[in-house]
């Protein structure tokens, strides 16, 4: 097992230069996420329009390279997509980290697919899976207007 499988160039790049890491000027949904085991924190800002499209999304937060990269990749991937599609991507992403190691989403471009796949190495590091999924769970929390903080331990 090579550590470079986990820290692929794309992941390192997103970890060091995260995209959409700011607070949206205009948003209609938000949620905070917390991984109490390692202290990772994330705050998702989301603009869902009436047709249920992810018009804009951003995040703020602190955490390890994996959690920041994952948040960055997520925002980049689902921005502009229909909410239903975003949800499908999320399901596939979680599945990639749990069972299969491939993504099966037709709606992703090849580039998007490669970027998402760069996180597949996390699967071999069970202690780090929660770092990779925190942003995604928090996104759903925001979209579905659940109460409280998205917590990886609940």
């Amino acid at each position: 097992m090579d550590i470079k499988e986990l820290y692929q160039e794309i992941v390192l790049d997103h970890g060091k230069n995260p995209r959409n890491k700011n607070k949206l000027k205009s948003f209609n949904k938000e949620a905070k996420g917390h991984n109490p085991l390692c202290g990772d924190k994330i705050h998702i800002f989301l603009k869902l329009d009436n047709d249920k499209k992810v018009e804009d999304i951003s995040f703020e937060g602190e955490g390890c390279a994996i959690s920041i990269a994952s948040a960055s990749i997520m925002t980049e991937t689902i921005k502009g997509k229909e909410f239903n599609v975003a949800k499908k991507i999320l399901e596939n992403f979680l599945n990639m980290l749990k069972e299969s190691s491939k993504l099966r989403i037709n709606s992703l471009s090849e580039d998007e697919n490669t970027t998402m796949m760069s996180l597949s190495g996390v699967k071999r590091f069970p202690m780090r899976v929660k770092c990779a999924t925190l942003a995604w769970h928090t996104f759903m929390h925001a979209a579905e207007e659940k109460k409280g903080t998205a917590n990886t331990e609940k």
Binding site: I3, Y7, L37, C38, G39, C64, A65, I66, M127, R128
Partner: protein
């Protein structure tokens, strides 16, 4: 001291981690166990087990004797004046909760003050927070300086007529600072304020003598002393045990039970409710033997040598920042690496078999004070050698490489 020989007494080191030799630098979290401890538990279950203190059959007598012998050994080990001052708990956390709850219930009123420090582990803050909530008491934090130590004047400053207890760590599990317990006890004595010491990191690494330290309460987790999990010790001065109420209620801790009243025996029975972790306590007797055989003085000298070597080696790497620089310190090095989150550090180190801890180490207040969210922590045990430190510095260099720092 022959570290190779000592290490050979710990079966865990025969295993490979990710195909590599195990470099265990997480003893502040929990130490590894010598074979004698593991075997003792197995022997106890195979030959001597039954529940203690309840039945009159032979096995019950044997088991009770083995259990109580461990109490005697512990009394000697920490030089407590009376054997009933040794109470077995499940860990140091429970020991501190026991005192916070019983002492807090009886002696702390609204507006009273509890002094702790910014160095404290959550185990020595949260139980006091419960009392703060329940009683409307006030918690005052003695400030930690940028060297990661708490000066005695910072404690002195906070003492008032309302101070009801001072609860402090013996050895910080983040900065390694060793607190001048004796001086703090002297200071507290002037005002008749009891002192509770969180001895989690003190007991495995320092010579501890209750009569010399003079503190009222001392909390220990035996799993950090080469002992089994599930065993803690609360040392409490006899004068308190006579006045404090029981903690948990149940079997084993009663004297007489009637429909309209219940009476309780003295310590330690009063504080040991329910069936205890018998095998683990008996197993712990072998940890004490192990420490005594090696000699706590030898352990201290050895760990000091490795610590100093470790600090020197790690400081050579410019990207590493060590948290705190206390004048008197024990075998703990917490650090950060520029541009790399501690969890990423821990994962990369683990690939090379180097086990450290990453996070806030249950000390969020201290990390906030030091201006970091989390840190990586290498902590020593008697089995660590300079080669372990070399493996650590090489693995740290690898972090820089993976992250192209």
């Amino acid at each position: 001291m022959d570290i190779k020989e000592i290490k050979s007494k710990f079966p865990i080191f025969k295993n490979k981690i990710n195909g590599k030799k195990l470099i265990y630098l997480d003893s502040a979290n929990s130490s590894q166990k010598p074979k004698t401890v593991i075997d003792r538990i197995s022997k106890f279950y195979s030959k001597e087990f039954s529940n203690i203190g309840r039945s009159v059959h032979s096995l019950a007598v044997t088991a009770t004797n083995r259990f109580e012998e461990t109490r005697d050994m512990m009394q000697k080990f920490i030089n407590a004046k009376h054997r009933e001052e040794i109470i077995f708990t499940k860990n140091a956390t429970e020991a501190i909760n026991l005192i916070a709850s019983t002492y807090g219930d009886k002696f702390i009123k609204e507006g009273d003050e509890i002094i702790i420090t910014e160095l404290e582990h959550h185990a020595n803050y949260v139980p006091w927070h419960f009392i703060r909530q329940k009683k409307g008491a006030i918690i005052k934090f003695a400030k930690c300086n940028d060297k990661g130590e708490v000066e005695i004047d910072e404690i002195k400053k906070l003492i008032t007529n309302k101070t009801k207890i001072i609860a402090i760590t013996h050895l910080s599990n983040v900065t390694g600072a060793i607190m001048p317990i004796k001086k703090i006890v002297d200071l507290a004595n002037e005002k008749k304020i009891p002192v509770l010491v969180d001895g989690c990191q003190g007991a495995p690494h320092l010579k501890i003598d209750m009569q010399e330290l003079g503190c009222d309460f001392y909390a220990i987790s035996c799993h950090k002393m080469y002992g089994p999990t599930g065993v803690g010790v609360l040392y409490a001065k006899k004068k308190w045990l006579d006045v404090l109420p029981p903690y948990q209620g149940g079997g084993g801790m009663i004297e007489e039970v009637k429909k309209d009243h219940i009476t309780f025996p003295g310590s330690p029975t009063k504080y040991e409710a329910g069936t205890l972790q018998t095998a683990e306590v008996v197993g712990f007797s072998e940890s004490l033997k192990f420490i005594e055989d090696v000699g706590i003085k030898n352990i201290m000298e050895h760990e000091k040598e490795i610590l100093e070597y470790g600090l020197d080696e790690i400081k050579k790497n410019n990207s590493v920042k060590i948290i705190g620089d206390p004048k008197v310190r024990g075998s703990i090095i917490s650090f950060t690496i520029k541009g790399i989150h501690p969890h990423d550090i821990a994962t990369i180190l683990d690939e090379d078999g180097v086990a450290i801890r990453a996070g806030h180490h249950c000390c969020q207040i201290l990390h906030e004070k030091m201006g970091v969210v989390a840190s990586a922590r290498a902590s020593l045990g008697v089995y660590n050698s300079k080669e372990d430190i070399d493996a650590l510095s090489n693995a740290i260099k690898k972090c820089n490489k993976v992250f192209n720092n």
